[in-house]
């Protein structure tokens, strides 16, 4: 089963929920935690790491072969992303790997096969082995702008190494555009983490629209909940969205987080809240 932890707004507690949920559920289930927030991966900061494997991840981009090029301009014509530019005056073709979407059109359609596809490094996958559960994280190289290919490969890596009887928890990137969609689209359940502020509500509403468009099953977790702030509860009730649990606003929790520590054991009330999430997942899993 695949569970994506997501939120429109950044900093609502996706990583807190992901790492604590993985740790909490690992006493009963086989768990793998995967960090898909490849631009700013943080899950591994909260896990005692022992040894790990490192895999360099690349994607395919065209490389121009001047000696066979006949300057027909086909590549320039077929590229929709301005990533392959023919400079006629110089008899040159220039490839901009950062703009390339790896569609292979220029390479396949070049009549003299002068743009063979080759690897370009985009980042790393770190695979940490941990006593109770393992952690996989995608890390985008600084200077790389496209997160989606690395997210896709990090999910594929997880599926290759862990069978379907694992509960796979995916700590997803923030926002509502391409990286999030890539991270959540194949999951069985999405947990949307939000906070009871106008910002949190606004971004939750957008996330809900996205989940509905993607036909995803989802529920909401309120973080930094305070008894007098009901705007998320009201919204979920009107929209008939399951509100799974509320994690309290607490200086203690914020301090533990700042030190890279787990919260569910240290703060008594919180363990119950993670039990609620676990039960919700179990219900979805058993199809009840």
């Amino acid at each position: 089963m695949k569970i994506a932890i997501a939120s429109g707004k950044g900093g609502t507690g996706k990583t807190t929920v992901s790492v604590n949920l993985a740790a909490y559920m690992s006493s009963k289930y086989k768990i793998i935690l995967t960090d898909l927030d490849v631009e700013e991966p943080n899950s591994s900061l909260f896990i005692d790491k022992e040894n790990y494997d490192k895999t360099i991840i690349s994607r395919m981009v065209p490389h121009w072969n001047k000696s066979t090029c006949i300057s027909c301009g086909k590549c320039n014509e077929v590229c929709n992303f301005n990533a392959v530019i023919q400079i006629e005056a110089l008899n040159e073709v220039v490839v901009f790997p950062k703009l390339c979407h790896s569609c292979f059109a220029c390479s396949d359609l070049c009549p003299t096969l002068s743009l063979p596809m080759g690897r370009e490094r985009v980042g790393l996958i770190n695979h940490y082995y941990h006593k109770k559960f393992d952690l996989i994280e995608g890390v985008l190289d600084i200077g790389q702008e496209q997160a989606v290919p690395l997210i896709a490969q990090t999910i594929a890596y997880t599926d290759k190494h862990y069978s379907d009887d694992y509960i796979k928890i995916f700590d997803s990137p923030p926002g509502t555009s391409c990286p999030v969609i890539e991270a959540v689209k194949d999951s069985d359940l999405v947990l949307l983490v939000t906070e009871p502020t106008p910002f949190g509500l606004n971004d939750l509403k957008i996330s809900v629209e996205v989940m509905r468009k993607l036909n995803q099953k989802f529920g909401v977790i309120v973080n930094r909940a305070e008894s007098h702030l009901n705007l998320i509860n009201d919204y979920c009730q009107i929209e008939n969205i399951p509100l799974i649990t509320e994690l309290p606003q607490s200086r203690k929790i914020a301090e533990l987080y700042s030190q890279g520590k787990l919260i569910y054991r240290a703060v008594s009330q919180v363990e119950n809240e993670f039990e609620k999430i676990s039960q919700f997942i179990e219900k979805v899993r058993s199809g009840k």
């Binding site: 707004k9 631009e39 700013e40 509502t176 993607l214």
Partner: protein
Amino acid sequence: MKEIVVVSGKGGTGKTSVTASLAFLSSEAITLADCDVDAANLHLLFGIEYDEGEEFYSGQLAEIDQNECLNCGRCKTVCHFGAITETDGQHVIDQIDCEGCGYCARICPQAAINMKDNMAGKIYDSTTRFNTSMVHARLGIVAENSGKLVARVKEKAREVATRNNSDYVLVDGSPGIGCPVVSSLSGADYVLIITEPTVSGIHDLERVYEVVKQFDLETGVVINKNDLNISKSNEIKAYLQKNNVELLAKLPWHREFSESLAQGKIVGEKKNSMLKPIFIELWKKFKELI
């Protein structure tokens, strides 16, 4: 006219709140731009009504004309994004998976695939409840290309700022280090990074600073929720010193911050605000630097 871009790497450090407070408390003419188009929130603090907006088109999506299609399947073979599927012998393109490369349309022997312009979102040129201008956007649901939308928001903000004779364009950037952030940073005169003294705050600050460094932009840092973890705050200070980056201000972990936001108010707006003097001091420092 100077352009200041506020970024954070990590989400939720207070990027939008600080941007709003600076704009509210400065006495200069400011045009605001919200480049966090994925999760735009700045407008919520400034009492803005959405008007018609300007449609923003970016990229294309492929669509099969079922009347022309012979279901030969060539399109499916060439698509590297798994966007084309065959059900009951009929080929269909998934609008979410389609990358808009147009490869399928080029090789379709029947020319049965059309490329349609994709409306990626809308851009708004609004007036705030303080009568200043704000350019902001709304990304279409499940739309792509937020980097390009960010570039257009900035372009428009500069037009508005020129029209209004603004002294500053203040840009609320996006989280992360990918294409929306790079778009936010292009053309900036000064970059303000908001961070927090947590393990992830430091980790993300270091990554976003590496990106900012590649653009060779003048940079300053604000530590928010400073007293949450003094030793982490000191770690940040040491990192900034080593990299010769100015630490502009330390904001305390204060209830006023969260209370103001919960009420949809700008931090520093309420009477007897504890935090107001810190923001005024920060803005003063800014003006000297830029």
